[in-house]
Amino acid sequence: MGEMSAVGLMGGFWSNQPVRVALAVGGCAALVCAVVGLSTVMRRQAFAGHALSDVSGAGGSAAYLLSINPLFGFLGIAAAAAGLMEWAQVREARERDLLTGVVLGAGLGLAALLLYLDMTVRSVSGAAITVLFGSMFTIPTSIVPVALAVAVAALGASALIFRPLLVTTLSVDLARAQGVSVRTTGLIQALALALAVSLSAMTVGAILSTALLIGPAAAALQVARRPASALALAVLIGLAATWGGVALAYQSYYWTPGHGWPVSFFIVMLIICAYLAASAVASRRAGAPAAVPLSGCQDH
């Protein structure tokens, strides 16, 4: 009987249009974030990735003011900020964190102003929730093709620099010796990061988008021993968390009658679970002679 009702409850899931849009856009975001997140974590740029997604919130807020596609808003600011941070090229980690923190603060401050203007000038209701925490079931259908294009661009950029980036991450000198342009690689990576962050911000919101960017990659790097398996695992975790979150949010409608829980909450919780599970697996293995963990690569 339990099975019967479960089937009945999920009955409208696949034919539900907001769910389909959420699965499509969320799938793009999860895929791109897993791929780009991997190099972000390996290059120890998690904080920069977080700052970028927060800053992109200003773009999402501006999009309402300008009546443009919010994805373009997120993307515009994220690309500008990523370019700026890559251009500044601060070598020392401490200084890089400070610069990133300052940019983050400025971006969120700008978002606060733009959200205020959204509400007072454009009568946009709930803009703050949508921009900062995501509102997957209200994403307009028209965003799907744009999201697909952004995903293809991000994956293309990542594929282009996969080898050189891996070498650069291991050793800058080795990369130079092999004829890799470190500067170009970094710029393309920054662009891919901006694309990933804007897709993620569209899905789970500017504040939570780090979770999708960093979480699956960090979990995968704890257990995977080779780049290829880390990549596959990160993609798997990202997609499972995002689509599982959508399914759980859909289900939650029947837990508290008539009130679905926010989908962003479920996605982030599933990512945390995956991370904890990966940690448990990694610590179990700790006794055995382990390969050099990928996340422990030296910072250049």
Binding site: M119, T120, V124, S125, I129, F133
Partner: protein, 311 residues
């Protein structure tokens, strides 16, 4: 580092400044007592009714007047506190709609100020879901009568004038009530979709069946994440043309309401734009409500959209 010897001087300066401020404030308050008493309607529609009852013997101010702003997300400014400090009567909607005014009222106590909470005036329980009371047929006549009584206590010499105005206001709503009754008789049971509960009381009075899930209306009103089931249900109402009219709140919009509006237009479902606060200029409460009712009738009878009430 600040020199410690400077401290006492600073303290005196601050004290002097405070004293000056208090004196100034007291002066302002005295000055205010000279003119006609001030009444505040927190939303422009309440202010409009107050003005129709009390003017010119009462000066009426509104706080929320911008029809392009979402009143649910209003933020008070220091200027609002100044207005409240002078007021002898404050009319607020209640039910959490304008809860931000209550700490301001409490912060500037004034023994001879009356606060009229419309939801309490109507005897509604505190957990009433739809706070948009001014779309109800019996709301504003009750507000007008209560305002007349409050004004009579402030300016007893004009008590008869206020009472007559309240009666005149009530009878000036007769055409609106007649139109609602006529609509109900002819088009009662008309299925409608809405984005937000703003005009629900009027639609119900007109006998419309509101098919939009209440949870979706509340999600739009409160700016929370709607459930996909409710979004899909609303889309089905429009796509399968299960409704005759799409009632669209002009002041509470987001990406989803915009895409619903697009869908309604694509399916040639007539759209009626409704407002949270009184559209200005050119409208008073009566003509606003009449215009909304006429727009609803035009939509149902002739399939004509009235998206905005600009004049």
């Amino acid at each position: 580092m600040m020199d410690t010897r400077d401290r006492p001087r600073w303290r005196w300066l601050i004290l002097a400044g405070l004293a000056g401020y208090v004196a100034l404030a007291a002066g302002c308050a005295r000055q205010a007592n000279n003119g006609p008493p001030v009444a505040i309607g927190v939303e422009s529609q309440y202010a409009n009714v107050l003005s129709q009852v009390g003017s010119p013997y009462v000066t009426v101010r509104a706080i929320e007047t911008n029809p392009n702003t979402d009143p649910h997300e209003f933020e008070a400014s220091p200027a609002v506190a100044r207005e409240v400090a002078r007021a002898r009567l404050v009319v607020e909607n209640g039910l959490g709609y304008d809860a931000w005014i209550e700490p301001i009222i409490a912060a500037v106590p004034k023994p001879d100020r009356r606060v009229l909470v419309v939801s309490q005036l109507l005897g509604l329980p505190a957990d009433t879901v739809n706070p948009h009371l001014w779309y109800g047929v019996r709301t504003m006549p009750a507000v007008a009568r209560a305002a007349a009584a409050a004004f009579a206590a402030m300016e007893p010499a004009h008590a008869a004038y206020f009472a007559a105005n309240a009666r005149r206001f009530d009878s000036s709503l007769a055409p609106w009530r007649a139109q609602i009754a006529a609509f109900r008789a002819r088009y009662g049971g008309t299925p409608v979709a809405v984005t937000e509960p703003v005009a629900d009381l009027l639609l119900q009075a007109a006998g419309c069946r509101i098919l939009t899930p209440l949870a979706l209306q509340l999600a739009v009103m409160n700016g929370t994440d709607p459930a996909p089931q409710d979004v899909a249900a609303e889309q089905t109402l429009l796509r399968d043309r299960l409704v005759k009219v799409f009632v669209y709140n002009q002041q509470v919009t987001n990406a989803m309401t915009a895409s619903l509006l697009q869908l309604a237009r694509a399916e040639h479902i007539p759209v009626v734009g409704v407002y949270e606060t009184m559209p200005q200029p050119g409208y008073d409460y009566q003509s606003w409500m009449l215009a909304e009712m006429q727009a609803l009738r035009a939509a149902v009878a002739h399939g004509v959209s009235t998206t905005t009430l600009g004049r």
